[in-house]
Assembly symmetry: C2
Homo-oligomer: 198 residues x 2
């Protein structure tokens, strides 16, 4: 039996995917072992705190990704470019609607009570970062707050509906509507009739 030596950074994304597909409770150590090709011994070597620690670190990993690819740009970058970057990042991250938001899924069941803080902060920072970019981009503060909330919640809702209907076109349509609502006047590939940005 050829032994493969692993690092935590290699297995964590695999574990994240299991949680994303099954949810926290249905993701058994058996499943996680299969997907990572790791025995329980190795799993507990990396994560002495067991399943709860795995979820904690998965949440932290996701947060780090969003900080780098979404929040930081929105908070400190050029607003228009940062928002354009957000649309790209979101579309890539959620695999154009075929992948669910693990944090949103955790928020909806009993898992929220176990990981309340990271879940809260993930969404709070997203909304505030987008709000900040909108304001710096010239939007009125009150309108910016409402729009930021609408966008984040719209993405989550689109993921729910896309998965429920098993139809990822729901996601791309929703993303397009939200882009328009934010006022996306960047040049893009035209597909069908499109409201001209006046």
């Amino acid at each position: 039996m050829a032994r493969t030596v692993n690092e935590k950074s290699d297995v964590l994304p695999l574990i994240a995917e299991v949680f994303r597909e099954l949810g926290y409770d249905a993701a058994s150590l058996g499943q996680i072992g299969e997907r990572t090709s790791l025995g329980k011994g190795s799993l507990y070597h990396f994560f002495p705190g067991g399943k709860a620690q795995m979820a904690q670190e998965v949440l932290a990993l996701i947060d780090a990704w969003f900080v780098q690819n979404v929040y930081e740009p929105l908070e400190t970058g050029e607003p228009r470019a940062a928002i354009a970057q957000m649309w790209r990042a979101v579309d890539v991250y959620f695999h154009a609607g075929q992948r669910v938001c693990l944090v949103g899924a955790f928020a909806l069941d009993a898992t929220r009570d176990r990981f309340g803080e990271p879940i809260r902060l993930y969404f709070k920072r997203w909304v505030r970062a987008l709000e900040s970019a909108l304001i710096r981009g010239g939007a009125e503060p009150v309108a910016a707050a409402a729009l930021a909330e609408e966008v984040v919640l719209g993405i989550q809702g689109a993921l729910v509906l896309a998965r429920a209907l098993n139809d990822d076109t729901v996601f791309s349509r929703a993303l397009q509507r939200l882009r328009n609502a934010v006022g996306d006047d960047a040049p893009k590939a035209v597909v069908g009739p499109r409201p001209t940005a006046s």
Copy 2:
């Protein structure tokens, strides 16, 4: 020990609430027994198919409620009145954002694979019913389809965000925005100091 004789119609809503709060996997028969004050014997008397049957019937119960209070009016009633009724029903049903959508929660984890059809139909009929009412109300078909999708997904997203942030005002704000998007010109309480309910 005073025996209380129950009917299925009495216990089903209690079971629904347990599923709503915990999700399918975390809702154990132990919990369900506590909340319904029923032993496993009684539970299996009502639901020989066990937990899966309970979830099936809960889903059917929810669907029936929405058919009566939302879908039917939208499909066959006077459009403006039916849409106004939908806003009321949604606000009441989700307890102004304090209650999660069980069907949406089921859609996000492995539970979807067990109950794919009822989940799919719940959302599909909602979107189509609203679309129908919008068209009969004078909206352009293409716009109506997009708007219907936007509303249903917006409600789901609002529930996710409200629960994640533990802030139900997210839900009321989202509902108000969606009403405006649909073009709610019914007389409504003016923004500002809300008429206190108590």
